[in-house]
Amino acid sequence: MPIVTAKTAQPAYDVVIVGSGAGGGQMAMTLTLAGLKCVMLEAGRAYDPATETAMFQRPDQAPLRGVGTPEKNFGFYDATVDGGWQVPNEPYTQGSDDPARKFWWWRARMLGGRTNHWGRISLRNGPYDFKPHSRDGLGFDWPIGYEDVEPYYTKVEQLIGVYGTNEGRENTPDSPDGVLLPAPKGRAAELLVQKHAKTVGVPVMPIHRAVLTKALDADTIPAKLFPGNEWAQKIVADSMRRRGACFWATPCGRGCSIGANYQSTTVHLPPALATGNLDILPNAHAREVLLGADGKANGVLFVDKTTGNEERVRGRIVILAASSGETVRILLNSKSASFPNGLANSSGKVGKYVMDTVGTSLVGQIPKLENVPSHNEDGAGGSHFYSPWWLYKEQLAGKLGFARGYHIEMGGSRDMPGGWNPLPDDLGQGAYGTKFKEAARRYYGSFVYLSCRGEMIPNEDSFAELDPVVKDKWGTPVIRWNWKFSEHELRQADHAQDTFTAIFAAMGGTVRRAKPKTGTEIEPGGKIIHEVGGALMGADAKRSVVNGWNQTWDVKNLFLVDASPFPSNSDKNPTLTIMALAWRTGDYIVDQAKKGNI
């Protein structure tokens, strides 16, 4: 029985894993395939993508034609259940009333967490991204480098399946030959952006996303991933064979019932469960890591949300993969005589240096895309193309006025209509009747969006702490967020807006609104849902929370494998790096356990 309750769980396991998303899922898979008995605590309910995903459901079959509401923020069919910017009974607070200093916290309370609906964009950090301080004197270096993580990027890409191309660009690593799946063909708008962006110096090429453009090679990949472990290879091969290739329909944000994209619930958890070594305990909200008299973690205290009772589960090793905010919350709430300021917090750095991604977008209307003959552009359910950061040299030479780069995500608008008026009033010019339909068809697909996804430099004003007063429904103190962007981020967003305007102009199009004042268009902190940092990795125990193995300096059998240890947040989306580091940490744990070191 893989899904357990507080009553049916074993009294003790080898490992307690808190969280079931990218980090927790990868860790569970790595450890159970190595023979360790694990229990996974998930604060939300169990979730089965095979039966619960809305795949071909149309907007006219949903309430309000599927548009977003305060209860389903990203639309009715979005995979997220029991989650969003606000979660009932689980408040969070802000250190400031200033809108620019607020942090938006997206949480999913479901098995698989945010991996069920994420964008599937899977970019490797480059060598610069691990040593940003050495490069420009700002932020922090990681104690590990690209060469340490590279083998795990390759393993993860082979396991989850990532499409894309190798382009040989600066700080934008290629994958070894044969690892990436074929890139999907460019769509009309993407090809048009590619052609014209080139004229203003912006390169456009296939993006990397975790979608199976063809079935994974289950005959050869498992042996590469788990050499010498035939039992693991068979389990992984069986799991790979159950995943279908993309059939070029339905948006990935809904999740995928056939497993054609990566989500923890279709890729990581099935093989972990197949080992017989994993129990999953849903509706279990971790409150504290329990500390033994020997100074080692020996379990987790959690709230059973089905009863409201406090429960305990024991383990010889504890892993937190609960998201940056929730991991910080658990550590700060784990107070003891040895750790009066929170567990693993002898440095005082728990909660510090939270980062998100710099986000800003612009929509253009492109006459050349009007009245394009109708054709199916659903494609791989998300972007096919992007622009990796292209101005490393100019930036290093100090020519840009901001220190870190961004990539551009893009898309056309020939996607599934429904719910919203496709024809803005200014373009319709008052049309009704057949004239309206004519204009709607003319303009459909003629809008192009460009979005900046950029690096934020960690700063002293962006951090998470416990609210001294507010508690959740179960009496657990909640997180209070503090936020501030620096001039680097504001200028970067401004640069992106100028770039987008230039691209639309090169395409013969117009922007759908005037260029804003500098800095006013940056999305608030948290809005891009790339919450990282808060328990940084470092080389010095006095100034960081974990070492280069995601192992807390203070408690050697406690590991953090969400994005909380990231010392920087490059423009590359964090999920692939979370998985690579979780796998690497899992291998380290197995090795250290064998040697009797933990």
Partner: protein
């Protein structure tokens, strides 16, 4: 990705649909509406809801944070519908005037557009409740305007008469002062009608959307599209 009405706008990292800030509907105070509706009450009869209990607040709960996603919902399943028969009849007439049967597709009423509008203005969410304050008094105003001009109910007007009213309110930017509020109503109503119309298979055909079908492979745009755009397929 719907963005326009959300308290929490969209993440382009997850583009379920294209955002366009220009489509955003401004939320002005609609006090004018109530003045107009009150004036209309003398002639509009059954469309007047300015009396006691007329514009009852929406109190039904929403669908919650964990609704069943795989079932087929129809208007009224998630919360009770609240438009009166007279309001629904007027809505049918207006929606069919905005989206008539023609070479592009069927009339709005054939696609249950008014069920959607009723569901929308009956929904317990802030964005929809704002639209309710525009749509319900707007329908009353439309009726009063029809009676003022033609001495007849809007639903009984000839096409040329409907056109006479709609021409004055079809474009907010150009509407003259007496018709500003009517134009606001028309913009919201037309937006809802179009949002509903184009969410159906017939609407998809009308606008040129061909997706939501499984394919064995994805070939990208056809040669005619590439030629029209003067681009080449760069992914081989």
């Amino acid at each position: 990705m719907p963005t326009h009405e959300l308290p929490a706008p969209f993440d382009p990292g997850l583009p379920e649909r294209m955002p366009d800030p220009a489509i955003r509907l401004p939320r002005r105070t609609v006090l004018k509406w109530f003045a107009a509706a009150a004036a209309a009450s003398q002639v509009a009869g059954c469309l007047d809801r300015s009396g006691p209990g007329g514009m009852a607040p929406i109190t039904a709960p929403g669908y919650g944070t964990d609704p069943l996603l795989t079932r087929v919902y129809k208007a009224g399943d998630a919360w009770p519908l609240t438009l009166t028969e007279a309001e629904r009849t007027a809505s049918v007439a207006l929606a069919d005037f905005i989206m008539p049967a023609d070479a592009y597709g069927p009339a709005a009423s054939k696609l249950r557009v008014v069920d959607f509008i009723d569901e929308w203005v009956s929904a317990p969410y802030p964005g929809q409740m704002n639209d309710r304050k525009i749509i319900v008094p707007g329908l009353a105003w439309l009726e009063s305007e029809s009676r003022r001009r033609y001495g007849a109910a809007f639903t009984t007007l000839a096409a040329a008469q409907m056109d006479g009213i709609c021409a004055d309110i079809c474009f907010e930017k150009n509407a003259t002062e007496p018709f500003k509020a009517g134009a606001r109503f028309f913009s919201v109503f037309r937006g809802l009608t179009a949002g509903a119309y184009y969410s159906t298979p017939a609407g998809w055909k009308a606008i040129g959307y061909e997706g939501n079908v499984p394919l064995p492979k994805f070939d990208g745009p056809p040669p005619a599209v590439l030629a029209m755009l003067e681009v080449e397929q760069t992914v081989k």
